[in-house]
């Protein structure tokens, strides 16, 4: 019977196979068989096999690697099986079926996905259900017939089973090593889905996946490095060229697809044991961090949403990550709704002039005048105001002015419709106040000064002009000694009483006076003597 076994396999190396004896053969028959077999195969092997089988303590190893609880006839036929379907014809169970499956696997050079799933499922499931008591009973039945002393201690079997499990684990690893990688990955994924759907996860399968995780480390390490390169590049381009991020997002998508495919069994195994798949969590959190930064630092909402959606779809196996990403997605949806609302709130268009009308407009992207578009984020300054005109004391109307610009250009719009003025300046404030206030406050916090009209605004002090005979002198005054008022279209900065210093800053003619006023008044209201602390709680 052993001549049909594939040399080098575990089953072929079993002493029962070497000597071609059964579990029910007695000591005499075994010794005869050893002599007979030594005529055709290596005599030392035969002697060693004989020594194992005739030693009651060592015999257990061979018995557990054979077909315990199976008749000799069934065992010899099962040994010849070449496929799992053939095995189905035999009444095999437990250890015997596991060993038979491993023997069959030795005949298959490159198992198909289905074969692999079935083999691994059978082996890991049967291994889960082994009963040491039943095993002792089955082995002792054969030993009684063969005339060997019965096993009396469960510990003996349990210790031997530990070694067997290692053998089975190794056998599965060998099977996987011989399988095309894609099939290997798909088979493991399908198997973990199968067992999870059945509400079980055999311990041996966890161990197999641990082996897989260990051997996949070179791949995992490289993918983590690749992800780091992509996220670093994305961060470096996000501020200046968000339009160049597309290839990186595609690469990230591909990387995450592959990562999910390869590591999902690892993730599911870890999660079901209450453990963390640290590499997957680390990757997910790094990419999540990129998603958050792209929004927080660069307001790239759509890209941030895409990345979060990518993570959501690919890390469902890790509830801790899935939950965080779900919260991110909800938050981003909320932000998207707010952004949409802001766009709708800001949207406004007016035609200026009765003849040859020019369009003045604002929305969530920018402000436009006469065909020139100014993206909101580029706008550095703005001013607005109205002048009521009169002739000999008779009102003749009001002229309104709105101006804004970036580092290169300034748009100045004048007209006579108060409703347009009010509607536009209201939206303009909402659109650009934050960025201009921030810019002013940041500049002051850095210790730099900003010239507003004749006043040099600093963080702690303001420099005003004091008139002297035929000249002026600069007077530096701390903000703690200053006061402000608003009168006749100007913000007035007053020096301390008796200092004869003040400065009128026209809202209409001096850039950003409206914003400066808010900063000063807010700082004063909070009792701050540094303007940069105006908005600090």
């Amino acid at each position: 019977m052993s001549s049909d076994l594939k040399e080098g396999t575990a089953i072929a190396a079993n002493p029962f196979a070497i000597l071609e004896v059964t579990t029910r053969d007695d000591r005499e028959r075994i010794m005869e068989a050893a002599e007979d077999r030594s005529l055709t195969i290596d005599a030392d092997r035969c002697r060693a096999a004989c020594a194992v089988l005739t030693n009651p303590r060592r015999r257990i190893e061979a018995e557990l690697a054979w077909f315990p609880g199976t008749s000799p006839n069934t065992a010899s036929r099962a040994l010849l099986a070449k496929s799992l379907d053939e095995l189905d014809d035999f009444p095999l169970a437990g250890v015997a079926r596991i060993n038979a499956c491993i023997a069959v696997a030795a005949h298959v050079s490159a198992p198909s996905k289905d074969q692999l799933i079935r083999l691994m499922d059978t082996i890991t499931t049967d291994a889960e259900d082994i009963s040491s008591d039943l095993l002792i009973r089955e082995i002792n039945e054969d030993r009684e017939i063969a005339g060997f002393p019965a096993i009396t201690s469960v510990d003996i079997v349990d210790n031997a089973l530990i070694d067997r499990r290692q053998e089975w684990r190794r056998a599965i690893a060998d099977m996987l090593a011989a399988t095309p990688s894609l099939i290997l990955v798909e088979a493991l994924n399908n198997l973990v889905d199968l067992v999870q759907n059945q509400g079980r996860f055999p311990r041996l399968l966890h161990e197999v996946i641990d082996d897989y995780a260990l051997r996949a480390q070179p791949f995992i390490k490289l993918e983590l490095e690749a992800a780091e390169k992509v996220t670093a590049k994305a961060r470096s381009l996000a501020g200046s060229r968000p339009d160049a991020l597309e290839p990186l997002i595609s690469a990230l998508t591909e990387l995450l697809d592959t990562w999910e495919k390869v590591t999902r069994p690892i993730q599911l195994s870890a999660t079901s044991r209450g453990r963390a798949d640290e590499e997957s969590e680390s990757l997910a959190l790094d990419i999540r961090s990129l998603s958050i930064d792209l929004y927080n630092e660069h307001k790239l909402l759509e890209i941030s949403q895409r990345i979060s959606t990518l993570l959501d779809a690919r890390f469902q196996a890790i509830p801790r990550i899935a939950s965080r990403v779900a919260q991110d997605i909800a938050a981003l949806e909320d932000l998207a709704a707010q952004r949409q609302q802001r766009h709708e709130d800001l949207a406004y268009t007016a035609n200026i002039g009765l003849i040859g009308q020019s369009q003045l407009s604002i929305d969530g992207f920018g402000m436009s005048w006469n065909g020139e578009h100014y993206p909101l984020e580029t706008i550095t300054h703005a001013r607005w105001g109205a002048v009521r005109r009169s002739v000999n004391g008779v009102p003749t109307g009001t002229d309104y002015l709105i101006a804004w610009g970036d580092l290169r250009r300034t748009a100045v719009v004048t007209f006579r419709n108060g409703k347009i003025f009010e509607a536009f300046t209201n939206r303009q404030w909402k659109a650009i106040a934050e960025q201009i206030l921030t810019r002013i406050v940041d500049t002051l916090a850095e210790g730099r000064t900003i010239q507003f009209g004749n006043a040099v605004i600093g963080n702690d002090t303001v420099v005003l002009k004091r008139n002297k005979f035929f000249s002026q002198e600069d007077v530096t005054i701390p903000w703690s000694e200053m006061s402000v008022s608003s009168h006749d279209g100007s913000l007035i900065l007053h020096g301390p009483s008796g200092s004869r210093t003040s400065c009128n800053l026209s809202y209409r003619n001096v850039n950003n006076v409206h914003f400066l006023e808010l900063i000063i008044r807010t700082a004063f209201k909070k009792g701050r003597t540094r303007l940069s602390e105006a908005f600090v709680d």
Binding site: T179, S181, T349, F421, E434, S486, Y507, E517
Partner: protein
């Protein structure tokens, strides 16, 4: 050496080639940036309403005061947007013109500012539409509840004045007894409500809210004249 596609070693063949993607991103970044569509999304052709400059006066610029005993109530309407204080209207006779692309030096000079903290957005506080808050002395813009106080007080004082006028010749003693109090009220009103700025949108809202309470306020004003 050919890469294995079998077993654990073959997993390496599945790794993602990100270098090509990074190179592609670098190539894109090296190209000129895409042209930003210069027209706002809601521009011509959209459903957004288009407003026209017809040369009308600013609706909020109304003299709402001016009565006996020297009360000169001129509330200068300023477009105070959110909590920001904006320009007042002032009377000059400049030569207005429409100028685009004129040179102007921006006051702010910080480049690439960090995103502003959320607390820097103009804050909005909840308003119950009823509360009347006596404004503090000073020049700070009026909140809507302070604005309601000023409008309400104006109605009370109109009624008070009317009541005073009606008893002037008939009950001189009663008139004189109350005159000082009335003048004190006028002074207090002027110091708190005269030439104060407020949001024009608040004014429209407050007008409606106070109009609904006018009858009650008038009774309160008359009742002041004991």
């Amino acid at each position: 050496m050919a890469e294995s596609t079998c077993g654990f070693e073959g997993l390496m063949s599945l790794r993602t080639n990100v270098d090509a993607a990074i190179a592609a991103a670098d190539r894109l970044a090296a190209e000129p940036p895409p042209v930003i569509v210069s027209q706002p999304a809601h521009g011509t052709g959209s459903n957004a309403p288009v407003h026209r400059d017809s040369g009308a006066l600013l609706g909020g610029l109304k003299k709402i005061g001016g009565w006996v005993l020297g009360i000169g109530l001129i509330i200068a309407v300023r477009a105070c947007i959110a909590s920001g204080v904006n320009s007042a209207v002032h009377t000059e006779t400049p030569d207005p013109k429409i100028v685009a692309d004129t040179a102007s030096v921006p006051n702010g000079s910080a480049d690439n500012p960090a995103p502003p903290p959320a607390q820097m957005a103009p804050a909005e506080t909840a308003d119950d539409g009823q509360t009347l808050t006596k404004p503090a002395l000073g020049t700070a813009p009026l909140s809507i509840s302070e604005l309601r106080y000023c409008l309400a007080e104006r109605i009370r004082m109109d009624a008070e004045q009317s009541e005073m006028e009606s008893i002037r010749g008939i009950q001189p003693e009663r008139f004189n007894r109350h005159l000082d109090t009335f003048n004190m009220n006028v002074n207090d009103f002027n110091s708190r409500c005269y030439q104060r700025s407020f949001m024009t949108s608040d004014k429209e809202t407050a007008d409606l809210q106070i109009a609904a309470r006018r009858a009650a306020l008038e009774i309160e004003g008359k009742d002041r004249v004991e």
